[in-house]
Symmetry: C2
Subunit: 331 residues, 2 copies
């Protein structure tokens, strides 16, 4: 069956609150720079009290990725849970305005729409504290079989390993995708996710996953090693394709016996690295769904990542399709 | 009595939703480029449906101005009405995080926090459609006499002439300020506000206002003339000080017999002009409250306006105090 969607993404549906911060503020709040910490509603309120004035923008790792795929001209769908409140309305609007199909029912009686409090230090690094809220309530009933069956690639966040009901949604989507002959892709998301769920992630990757995204720290944490190359060789036989990002050093793509190296795109000024990994995945997955060579997939990823770190906010502000054309990456 | 606050601002408390748009979209929605239109909740919902993905940021003209004054190191307070909902929480947080005293009680049973849907065309111009919501419910009971008495300058938006209860709040603040010997400043806000409330504005200016802010279009609309100089001469005897902005041509300050001309600050790239007038008022009012020469007040205004048009969002992203010091405008 031809796929109606290039990619369906399943993720924690989150609105970002982005504000500048000092290193001292992070230390005082006990936040480790560059990490993502899960917090409850009370902690979210007290942390927000201490933060500087900010801006709000729809986020969530897989939500950012799917917005990027749509920005490249991809046909895209999203599954994730928001509440029927103002931030939920914003989240849904921003996906639909980008052309992403989003029909997960809103949560009516329960926690508010999830929020990620992002403190951006002057070096452009982001430190995230996430109150999952309604995102925590994604269940297997929210997994629409028709959407999964209609998507060439089903993409899931490692972050989804945290909420227990979402794990079941994850498993259900995997089962439907397998039966429909669709590819499964995941991102490891975060070093702390890897630490929390190492064995589950490894088992899932070995048994089910076709495409994995990781940055070098996540990959080395997964195999408890300091040696990048040996971590790559342990990952290689587990999946069909692995794309490992290395910041300014670009990315490495493993595909069975082959290894492709892709350079990072030049960036005038790094303002906020939020969403860089998400956009790399967007470019790569779009290329993969369209059957482009892996080197081109990687370059589309690098290009999309470069767009997003040049401004505040985790989603592209320039249509990625236009950028890709101007770079000769798309016809 | 020494003033505890340099400025208290009274305004429509609004959260901005900012998205890129084409000229064709504005035409299709019947919106006149550069204007501010009042809309109801149903129209806000349908317009939002058609808008591109955006970002949310606390706004409201006087709210932006008071945030700018705090960013300059000024002691600042704000009176305005938000609902006890997520956007209201964001609005209050952003003011307090900036150091602005904000204690107007939240609206509990009534419309949601007000929203301004801002479509930014590629030329950087913003076209605004405002659903006032809770902002519409500011009443004279919300005017805290202690705050008015403690402020060197009481600053009010022309936009406040629209909601009937706010008009009474306006009058009450004026009465308290007069008794305490405080200065009254207003901005004309918008050409359409001038058209709707010309006689009321003229009567209020003539009887009560010490300092008025206007752009050249608003000023010429006020006196129904195409001649800038004659409009200036009609305004001059009505108020102690008038600051009239002219975009790239800078501003003109009228002070009884004196006229000061101030150049615009150079801007690398105009991205979004939302908040330019608000920040001009911020710089000017801060200088005035601190007793600086009018030429310096104007330059502080030009500097603050230049900061805000170089990025999306209506409030400064760089501390204005640091900018002013680097320009030699503050010690």
């Amino acid at each position: 069956m031809t796929a109606a969607y290039d990619v369906v993404a399943i993720g924690n549906a989150i609105v970002d609150v982005i504000a500048p911060a000092t290193e001292a503020f992070l230390a005082g709040e006990g936040l480790q720079k560059g990490s993502m910490t899960l917090i409850d509603e009370a902690r979210a309120a007290s942390l927000y009290d201490g933060m500087a004035a900010g801006v709000e923008a729809s986020g969530g790792s897989a939500g950012n990725t799917i917005a990027g795929i749509a920005s490249l001209g991809g046909r895209a769908a999203y599954l994730g849970k928001v509440a029927s409140d103002q931030l939920g309305e914003v989240f849904a609007h921003d996906l639909r305005a980008q052309g992403v199909a989003f029909d997960t029912p809103y949560l009516d009686c329960g926690p508010a729409t999830g929020r990620c409090l992002i403190n951006v230090t002057p070096d452009g690094q982001r430190t995230m504290a996430t109150f999952l809220g309604a995102a925590n309530q994604l269940t297997e009933e929210d997994v629409d079989p028709a959407v999964i069956q209609a998507s060439a690639i089903v993409y899931m966040e490692g972050y989804l390993f945290d909420p227990a009901p979402a794990r079941k949604a994850f498993a259900r989507a995997d089962e439907i995708a397998k039966r429909a002959g669709r590819r499964i892709a995941i991102t490891l998301s975060d070093v702390f996710v890897v630490e929390r769920w190492r064995d589950d992630l490894l088992a899932f990757m070995d048994g089910s996953v076709d495409v994995v995204f990781a940055n070098e720290n996540e990959l080395m944490a997964l195999f408890r090693t300091d040696d990048f190359d040996s971590a790559c060789e342990r990952l290689r036989p587990m999946v069909e394709i692995a794309a490992v990002t290395r910041g300014e050093q670009g990315s490495v793509i493993l595909n069975r016996g082959e290894t492709h190296r892709v350079e990072a795109f030049p960036v005038q000024r790094v303002l906020d690295t939020t969403g860089a990994g998400d956009q790399y995945a967007a470019g790569f997955l779009f290329g993969l769904a369209r059957g482009l060579p892996l080197q081109t997939c990687g370059r589309l990823g690098s290009m999309a990542a470069a767009e997003v770190i040049g401004h505040y906010g985790p989603r592209p502000q320039t249509p990625l399709k236009d950028l890709a054309r101007s770079q000769g990456l798309l016809a």
